[in-house]
Every structure is written in C-alpha cells, then in structure tokens.
C-alpha cells in the first residue's frame, strides 16, 4: 500500500487540530460550561463520545510538554493528571470552533458515522470485558472503536472530491470502501487514522489496531480482535449500524477469531445479551440538533 507522505501527514494533522467537533457535543459543552456546578462526569461522558474532541484532547495531553510516565488513553486519566477545570476549558476551546457540518461536500453521512463509531466503541468494550484473557484495558478497546474510522471523517472533511469518488467506486464495483479508497486515493482510511494517532503520540497498540482493522490475518492482540469483531457486529443485521458506505457486511468471522470468542457472530451476540441500551445510548448522543456556537 502507498505510504502517506510526511507532508500530507503534517498537513492533515494540522487540519485535524482545527477541525470542529460533532453538533451534540458542542451543544452540550457550551451548556455545561455555562453551569458553574456542572457535574464533572457529564463533561467526561460528552468528550469521550466525540471522536474529534477525544482525538484533540488526548493529542494535547500526550504532547511532550507533560512527559507523563505513560500515555494517556482516557478522559478521566486526563482529568486526574491535568485537572478538571483545564479539561473543561480545553473542551470549550474545541466547542467554540463550530460544528462539523451534517452535509459535507463528499456527501458522507456524519451522523451515521458517529452512530457506527459509538456502537463499535461500546461493543469493543463489552467484548473485552467478556472475552479478555490478557489484561487488555476495556477502555483502550472502547477508544479504538471510537477512533477506528476517523480516517473517513478526515477524507470527507479535507479530501471530499476524492472520497466521493471512492464511495462511488465502492458502490459501482461492489468492493469494500477501503479497497476503493486505495484505488482512488492511493491510501485507505485505516492507514490515515493510524498515521494521525501515531503522529499524535497515542499508544502504539491503538495505532496497530486502527491500521489493521480490515486485515484480520495480521491480528495478534486482544485489542485488534475486539475492535474487529465490534466493527463487524455493528454492521450485522441485528444492529445494522455500519457506515452508509460499507460494502463489507460479513456473515461469518475468520475461524481463528471465532475460536478466540468461542463462537461465531450469532453466538457472540447471544453471549453479549441485550444490546438495545448500546444503540439507545449512541442514538441519544448522535442525533443532531441545530446549534449556534457563541
């Protein structure tokens, strides 16, 4: 696969730093920041549901300026280390940039992207909690789920024409979107997402999982497996929350993965139990509402 040039990587990193966040989180952060007694846990729950805010926050916290002994992968960690008020003000500084448009030039459905990311995040966490055998942090799985398709938003936002063509190619030739992206753009969203996360000093296991989320043959870690199964499950007929552009509805897992989770998709779904909460929670957050940032 073509390597992303360091110039493009730098350009995208800078662009993402200035990228607006999703409407609901912007609206909630503006509301919460006006409330002197805003419950901190509400602030956390807003930031950790927004892929853009989460990316930016963890990027700044993991920057060389704080040289933490370990990389920070959760909003709660960031609060304990750097302080609640500072995180609140960082979120506010992200919120006042504006909101990601629901209708972008690429014609990519941002709301559906967000639903897919949130459901994948919840499922990856659940899968880790249920099937984890090696101490992998469920929070890291959730973060991987939230950010795994971030490259698509970056394409939609900064390379809309090319991304539109890739989506059309995928539909026309009935190939998965990442194959179409490689064909049209020369690089796919998993690679772009991983490069961003890498350049922003996120943990290596996270970038491995994002980079490989369409290549199960490469899997070595629990994080990769949980992300992969969560991604597939969210597109499964019982949930049906794949991204609009997905042509990769998988009925069966590769045998090695199925073995790891003690069964195939239908069996895993049974083991996970009622998932209506997962969908309802994501819906409550992803539904758009009109906001005018002040």
């Amino acid at each position: 696969m073509a390597e992303i040039s360091s110039e493009l990587n730098k350009k995208l990193s800078e662009a993402v730093g200035k990228m607006p966040a999703f409407p609901k989180s912007v609206q909630r952060i503006l509301e919460l920041s006006r409330d002197l007694n805003c419950p901190p846990k509400e602030l956390v729950s807003v930031i950790e549901k927004d892929p853009v805010m989460t990316m930016k926050l963890l990027h700044i916290i993991n920057s060389a300026y704080y040289s933490f002994p370990k990389q920070i992968t959760s909003v709660n960690q960031a609060i304990v280390y750097i302080g609640l008020n500072t995180i609140k003000n960082m979120a506010l500084s992200f919120a006042v940039i504006g909101v990601l448009p629901q209708h972008n030039a690429a014609g990519y459905d941002m709301q559906r992207y967000l639903m897919h990311s949130l459901i994948t995040a919840s499922l990856a966490r659940l899968l880790c909690q249920k099937f984890n055998k090696d101490g992998t942090d469920p929070g890291d799985c959730s973060l991987a789920g939230l950010l795994h398709d971030f490259g698509k938003v970056v394409f939609a936002q900064f390379m809309p024409e090319e991304f539109k063509q890739a989506m059309a190619y995928s539909a026309e030739h009935k190939v998965p979107l990442h194959i179409a992206e490689q064909h049209v753009i020369g690089i796919d969203h998993s690679e772009v997402g991983a490069m961003l996360v890498e350049g922003w000093q996120f943990p290596k296991n996270l970038s491995f999982a994002i980079r490989s989320h369409h290549n199960p043959a490469e899997f070595k870690t629990t994080l990769q497996c949980c992300l992969f199964v969560a991604d597939i499950l969210s597109k499964h007929k019982s949930l049906n929350y794949g991204a609009e552009s997905d042509r990769e509805i998988m009925a069966e897992l590769p045998p090695a993965i199925a073995e790891r989770f003690g069964g195939n998709l239908d069996e895993i779904i049974v083991k996970l139990g009622d998932l209506s909460n997962v969908v309802a929670e994501a819906q409550a957050f992803a539904q758009t509402s009109k906001v005018t940032p002040t």
């Binding site: 956390v44 060389a64 304990v80 750097i82 008020n85």
Partner: protein, 293 residues
C-alpha cells in the same frame, strides 16, 4: 539552604490590622542554596518587598519558579524591580498551558499589556530567559536540583522539590487533594478511584522525606465542602499528606484572605489537636520568617 517567606496569603493581598502578624502579601518564597544561588518560588505581591533588598545587590541572577499563573502567584512580577535593571539575569520557569498553548513567557506578556501596566514588556532591561518546564524533568542550578510535579488545581499547577546537598524542600503552590467525580456504586467510580490513588501516591513520592514541606492549607474541614473543586487543601489534608510523605517540618501557607491572625491561630490549633503529629513539626508560615536547613 535558607528559606524566607515574603508572602503567605492566598488569593488576594489582605493588609490591615487583623493580618499584621502573619502578613497580607500573596505568595513569594526566597530560597538560597548552599552556593548562594537565588531561587524564588512564585511572584505574588510579596516579591515587591523582597525586590527592595535585591536592588542593593545588583547585578543579580534570579531563578523564579512559577507554580501556576493565577494572580496571587504572578501579580508582583511586573513590580520586581530587578527585571528593569541592565546587568541582571532573570530566569522564569513555569508550566505549559494547554489552553493558550504558551509557557511562562505569557505571564509577563499578559500582565504588561498597555491597559494593565505602564511599562512595556520590551522595556525590561535585564536579561530575561523563559523556560517551560516539564513534570518529572529536573533542572540543575549548580548543585541544586529542582523537580516539578503536577498537582491538582483549576489551572496547571506544578509543585517543586528543591534538593541540595542532602537537604530538600517541597512547595506545593496550590493543591487540592484529588476527589472522585463519581458516587460510590456508580459505573466509573472504581476505575477513577484507582487513578486517584496512583496519582496521589506519585505526589507523596515526589515529596518523600523532605526536610521542609510548604503546602496550601487554605481551608478548615468545615469550610471545605462549600469550596470543593476550588483547588485548595485544608490544614488536615496537609498534615495527612506531610505524614504520609514523612516530611520533617510542615509549613501551612496560602492563608485564607479573610482570616484574621487570631482566627488563623485558632483554626490551626484545632487542626493540630485532631492529629497525633509525633514526628512532624507543623508550623504556620509567617511573612518575614526565615529558616535554615
């Protein structure tokens, strides 16, 4: 090393007859190392009185370590006369602020804007050197090592450990012990508690066995609930922290600005009575007091 308190008040200067004994100036602590290097912890209004003495010693080299950028820790800096005198060298150390994306240079830059101060930043005639310090990364000044540690306050706040020839001091700047943002039993409580315990332990480790711990003890236990989240400790939280760290002497500072000297002594005595401070000498920081270690 020698330590002298030039300002021990929190939040806002509070001069007047009721604060005469302990002093009304905001935070400023002078530290002289064994080599007579000059370290100044924070530039609250207390630094102005100190500057009068320093002017006579010109040319000087001063290492000013800023714990955080709130007014009561920076307000005296534009009045620190040595910054205007050619031949002096001033190093100002401080944290990176993730909101503004700037380091300690912004402390001077913001305060010396036209609307707030008559002298422009460009008119400071000393050599000024700004250093953005990082938690855990030690700075060497001669034989002295200064190590910053991230503490808990509404703005990024660094505590500093100063170590020289086997003796050590830790100054918290402003610090409130971490508390859980979830209720017991709520999802997230246990994980958050584990994070707090880990971070609290790393703070205790940073001040382990210091000879002198100077800590923010703004509030009493009774006052604290209505001030939770404001970023300050209590007499009791400081005593507990000092005992956990094995500090020899604890100086309680950042006195609440509305507290009179009499009240300060009263609430201090009450806090002491609640603890069995066998191996810990607990004192109130007082403007003008000097200590040798």
């Amino acid at each position: 090393m020698k330590i002298k308190f030039w300002g021990v008040r929190g939040s806002i200067p509070s001069p007047g007859p009721s604060t005469q004994r302990y002093g009304g100036n905001t935070t400023c602590i002078e530290v002289r190392t064994d080599n007579n290097d000059l370290i100044i912890l924070d530039g609250g209004t207390g630094i102005f009185t100190f500057a009068q003495q320093l002017v006579k010693e010109s040319p000087i080299t001063a290492h000013i370590f800023n714990t955080h950028s709130h007014w009561d820790h920076i307000q005296g800096l534009p009045f620190f006369i040595p910054i205007f005198i050619p031949g002096n060298t001033i190093h100002l150390y401080g944290a990176f602020d993730p909101i503004s994306g700037a380091g300690p240079e912004r402390i001077m830059n913001i305060q010396m804007q036209y609307s707030y101060f008559p002298v422009r930043e460009a008119e400071m005639r000393s050599r000024i050197h700004y250093v953005t310090v990082m938690p855990h990364e030690a700075i060497k000044i001669g034989e002295t090592t200064i190590t910053p540690t991230l503490l808990s306050h509404p703005v990024v706040n660094l505590g500093y450990r100063i170590a020289c020839n086997g003796k050590s001091i830790f100054f918290t700047g402003d610090h409130e012990p971490h508390y859980n943002i979830y209720e017991p039993g709520e999802e997230g409580y246990a994980d958050y508690q584990a994070l707090i315990e880990e971070q609290s332990q790393s703070i205790i480790d940073a001040m382990k066995n210091v000879d002198i711990l100077i800590a923010d003890s703004s509030y009493t236990n009774e006052e604290y609930p209505s001030k939770k989240g404001w970023g300050h400790g209590t007499f009791d939280s400081c005593i507990e922290m000092a005992m956990a760290a094995g500090a020899k002497v604890l100086y309680c500072t950042h006195h609440e600005p509305t507290r009179s000297d009499d009240d300060l002594e009263k609430v201090f005595a009450e806090a002491l009575a609640r603890h069995n401070c066998k191996n810990l000498d607990v004192r109130l920081a007082r403007e003008g007091d000097e200590i040798k270690i």
